[in-house]
């Protein structure tokens, strides 16, 4: 099981703020994650994940290169669109 967290407008695209996905293998990489979102959610969120400005955090640490993702059972992956605070 891994947890996907969708922040900001990505939650609207995904249709939820969070989802838990069962893993068929011990670990997933970046193409696996995209396929997972296509299968369990929709194409729009998979495409948004691909956008340059969308960042990825694994267990609370932002990845410098999201395509280098390797996530294992129990991990939490957050999809982070451009921020706007203050």
């Amino acid at each position: 099981m891994i947890t996907l967290v969708f922040l900001g407008k990505l939650a609207d695209l995904a249709g939820r703020a969070e989802c838990e996905c069962a893993l068929t293998s011990g670990a997933i990489n970046w193409p696996d994650l995209l396929a997972l979102m296509e299968d369990h959610l929709n194409t729009a969120i998979a495409e948004a994940a691909l956008a340059d400005r969308t960042k990825l955090a694994l267990n609370g640490a932002v990845l410098a290169d999201k395509t280098a993702l390797i996530a294992r059972d129990g991990d939490e992956i957050a999809l982070l669109p451009p921020v706007s605070g203050g």
């Binding site: 922040l7 900001g8 407008k9 955090a57 982070l80 451009p82 706007s84 605070g85």
Partner: protein, 148 residues
């Protein structure tokens, strides 16, 4: 004195700034910025979402950078999360220093980074529903000033 917080309900900035100033005896100046939800015609509310594993640690990193870059005695950084009504404060940054330039610049620096480099997402409720707010070009150029 360092006070970095997320706060999930309406608050009065004065109740934070008074004690903060008192907690930095011997200071030369305190600069404070308070950002509020503008009472624009059509905006009924603002919602600030955050991502807990990143947001507060990110604000502490920002504070570390401010302390490294400016000669500060104290830094207060408080950011609202959740649903915020027009006229309510969203953010307070207060910096205490021996000299005014450090205090003013530190507030400017922290605000520029909170706007476009901290882990918050903002949407506003108008008559026709909720709309996500993207950072403006100006927000990016404001932040880039500090990269020189």
């Amino acid at each position: 004195m360092r006070d970095i917080r997320l706060i999930d309900r309406a608050f009065n900035p004065g109740t934070l700034i008074g004690p903060f100033t008192q907690a930095n005896p011997g200071l030369g100046g305190v600069c404070t910025f308070v950002g509020e939800v503008r009472g624009e015609t059509d905006v009924q509310a603002l919602e600030l979402t955050h991502y807990e594993p990143l947001t507060l640690p990110g604000m502490h990193d920002l504070a570390d950078h401010a302390f490294a870059r400016f000669n500060l005695m104290g830094l207060l950084m408080v950011h609202r999360i959740g649903v915020i009504l027009p006229g309510e404060p969203i953010v307070v940054v207060s910096a205490a220093a021996t000299h005014r330039r450090d205090a003013i610049d530190a507030v400017d620096f922290c605000m520029d980074h909170l706007k476009s480099a901290a882990w918050f997402w903002k949407r506003e409720q108008r008559g026709d529903g909720w709309h996500w707010i993207e950072p403006r070009e100006q927000d990016f150029s404001d932040r880039e000033r500090w990269e020189k």
